[in-house]
Symmetry: C2
Subunit: 309 residues, 2 copies
Amino acid sequence: MMCSKGSLMTMVISIILCIMRRLGCKAVADATIEELKNKTELFVKEGNRAPSLAVVLVGHDAASETYVRKKAEAAEALGFLHFQYTFDEDVSEDRILSLIRDLNERDDVDGILVQLPLPGHISESRVIEAISPEKDVDGFSPVNSGRLLAGEDCFVPCTPKGIMKVLEHYGIGTAGKKAVIIGRSNIVGKPMAAILMQRGVDATVTVCHTKTPDLREYTLGADIIIVAAGHPGTIDESYVSEGAAVIDVGVNRIPDASREKGFRLSGDADYSSFRDRDVSITPVPGGIGVMTVAMLMSNTFEAAQRRAR
Amino acid sequence: MMCSKGSLMTMVISIILCIMRRLGCKAVADATIEELKNKTELFVKEGNRAPSLAVVLVGHDAASETYVRKKAEAAEALGFLHFQYTFDEDVSEDRILSLIRDLNERDDVDGILVQLPLPGHISESRVIEAISPEKDVDGFSPVNSGRLLAGEDCFVPCTPKGIMKVLEHYGIGTAGKKAVIIGRSNIVGKPMAAILMQRGVDATVTVCHTKTPDLREYTLGADIIIVAAGHPGTIDESYVSEGAAVIDVGVNRIPDASREKGFRLSGDADYSSFRDRDVSITPVPGGIGVMTVAMLMSNTFEAAQRRAR
């Protein structure tokens, strides 16, 4: 067996260390925000109005309120204009649709975001489809996701966009790699698959879900595993081969009386089980979640830039 | 080892026979057309105008001309109204866009189809995006493919729709099955993946392409292989396991001096190599190609029905 000094060294080190690599995302998100801040200052200096985001929140879901607050804070920190529209749970669909039509027309609004989920009596697809594609900074409208699937210029949904940024930051290549996505949501799984299969990204993508009989059959062969199933413990170290990267999109609230808030956050992967494995993995919290807000700001800046042109 | 009489019988028969199962599509397409004919007669009897299709053809590509002729013949056979717009290769993009805007407005047009490919100086995405989603019977516009990806009601692109019909006709289930798609075109591979991964269809889908290092690694484990690579001989029997179904979407013209036309048609799979294998496979010609035209007629009827409501 031929073996170069370098590769032998790498092998020995990896055997000796045999430890998990934590793909923290806070620094990546901070760097993105810092870059956006500079770009925004320049943009305003050039005589443009600051980028502006309108956020629509219906009801009082605790998680949704937290997300919306974080988005507002990020927008303010960047010097973006920020409008928030909050409605009680029982607001009519027509009221929301008419607000969106207004926001579509307004010259002082670059991006529109409707926080999901919406109450059952309001059609999410009708509301999302009403957002002008040019202001759809979440990238969930059909025009945007159709363009994404076709490989055309569009607003890339924030979580998949953040995942691509993290892969890039950590030098995890996608071309010719086997990517397995667990979960087929419209927000993460499907757009993620659409991105990874494009020319230039060039991963071979498999989308697994609740009807996949044997998940390990796919994950054990994968170079990159993106788990977005919405269930803690969807995978543990027995699902992952040495050298693979795990991107954990799950944000699950686990009841925990010892915490001040009464819960702790857990991803979809059993993080601690990877401790002694040669696996790279994003943590929860401090993982993909922080990227999502940064990418929303990035899309909002992009929307402002396009409108200014 | 426990073995019921029935399963033993099936096993013995499959071992004795050990022959390929030809999934001919002509009969499936004919049945679809017959059903559409009856529906159309009823639709007109109810006082509606016959469904109407506008076809736009640019240039003189031989294959495109053949496809457009077949579509015209099918429309006429069904009693559909049919408008054809033929342009020389050097027509401007503006001319095509303005025609499409006209057709979008016209009350006597239900479906609009622009035959692809277009000459290099015309942007296919701009032209396709100009077609009103309500008349986009090819299902290629972003709004339609975005809805398809999201699992919402839409015009399903004709070839993938035809493939689903053939699978259904031959009782080839998709739920919990491993589907491998070879090729990531916007016309077949990507929409096919979008359909197969939806809730209710429930296949575990992998999309392979030119950057997939080892195709067999995926195809040998697959229950359903959809090959839409556009290259003859992309797969042969060595890529396929016993019991699998192969859907061959390729239509390649192979020079053949012994034929009157100077060529013969070949799929992407090496059909004859499967002769002694327990594999189901669609032939070329007589396969998916004939389904595509039937599905276009089905979408046109659907468009007329929606407009009549």
